[in-house]
Symmetry: C2
Subunit: 257 residues, 2 copies
Amino acid sequence: MVKKKPLILVTNDDSINAAGIKALIETMCEIGEVVVVAPGKPQSGMGHAITLETPLRLKEIFNKGHKEYICSGTPVDCVKLAVNVILKRKPDLLVSGINHGSNSSINVIYSGTMSAAIEGALEGIPAIGFSLLNYAYDADFTLAQKYAKAIALNALEKGMPRGTCINVNFPSLIEKEVKGVRICRQANGNWQEEFDERKDPAGRKYYWLTGVFVNYDKGNDTDEWALANGYISIVPVQYDLTAHHAVPFLNEWSYEI
Amino acid sequence: MVKKKPLILVTNDDSINAAGIKALIETMCEIGEVVVVAPGKPQSGMGHAITLETPLRLKEIFNKGHKEYICSGTPVDCVKLAVNVILKRKPDLLVSGINHGSNSSINVIYSGTMSAAIEGALEGIPAIGFSLLNYAYDADFTLAQKYAKAIALNALEKGMPRGTCINVNFPSLIEKEVKGVRICRQANGNWQEEFDERKDPAGRKYYWLTGVFVNYDKGNDTDEWALANGYISIVPVQYDLTAHHAVPFLNEWSYEI
């Protein structure tokens, strides 16, 4: 059963100033007591990074009846600080996003949004990462908000299998164009990188990471397929990275020194 | 068959100045043509972070017959720059480490060392992360070097299953104390964090992440068990994070808006 006032932790990687987290906060305030702990500046691509070389800072602000904490660190730092310093009890739900841009396929491992959700799973908290396939600052989150609410209510009522969280991606479509929700696996895709080589005013080279995503996966059970075909994709995500199928292969190696 | 002069890319997360990478370079020079691309400063805990907000820089140096590139970014940035900018062909092997300190159990997701290896797997390169359970700057890497050589020769000869790399952890023992090598799964463990709260000279709070690792896993097929019982642990690691077993559970949810 859903509790009367579930405690919901909200974070993201686009920073506390992003429109996506504002949309998510608004929606979560409809179903629970909300505490926000989010980075003060963009943390896209931070993956599961934690801050070890510098100390962390928190700034507390009040915003329309809920508390928001601006954190100097990464999305995973935000979750750790929320759970261990800020919150008096374990939250009933962690939501991360709504990310401006896709986190499907391999992007799950680079994504600060999803790493925050994975950290939630590690803490035993039902956790969801939400992403919209639209990078624009003023993207329309209306439909994503409706589905985020429905999905969050499921998670609050039913929990998650141990060791897992979920990765939700919304196609950039209006309501009547969306065909529904598909539970998927992570597509086998990757980035074909190119570095943009430039010279600074002193003549020294520097590099910007750029590239194009390539989907190698022909399956119709993947997140890429779902999103390309008008569905919202949900991928269950785990933090056990063991490639169990490779164990026999490695047992055949010779380990003599 | 092992090629005459395999091309071996060496990286780490403790920085190019660490004793562990110097030991690994020395060993890899015995079996191949070595190119080093490593961070200029410590990148422990950076996970799979990539640098998007600032450009990257590379500094090239020559060192006893091989080239070394000092990179301003993360371990994953090092791999991407090596593959896309520096190397003329795909390396035959990527080795990362030897890390000063354990990367067993859940540490695989926080580890820059292992994220570099995972990025290698993504690029289709046989890739190995090595870690020694000793944080000391002047730790003895002699035994780790011997096993690293044997394991690297296996990887060069036999390759890796698609989508996987391996995570090798060495106990801090001398040769006669080591019982051998065990192929393991990632133990189910986690950090119980505490934040050390302090005040700066201006009276403002700041936080240092600290904590203790807790192993919840009683299995004797885990990396934690192997290391605690005198074995070298090898865990095959994959970047497909899909929790396939959770798909039926999520198909039971209601997605009505």
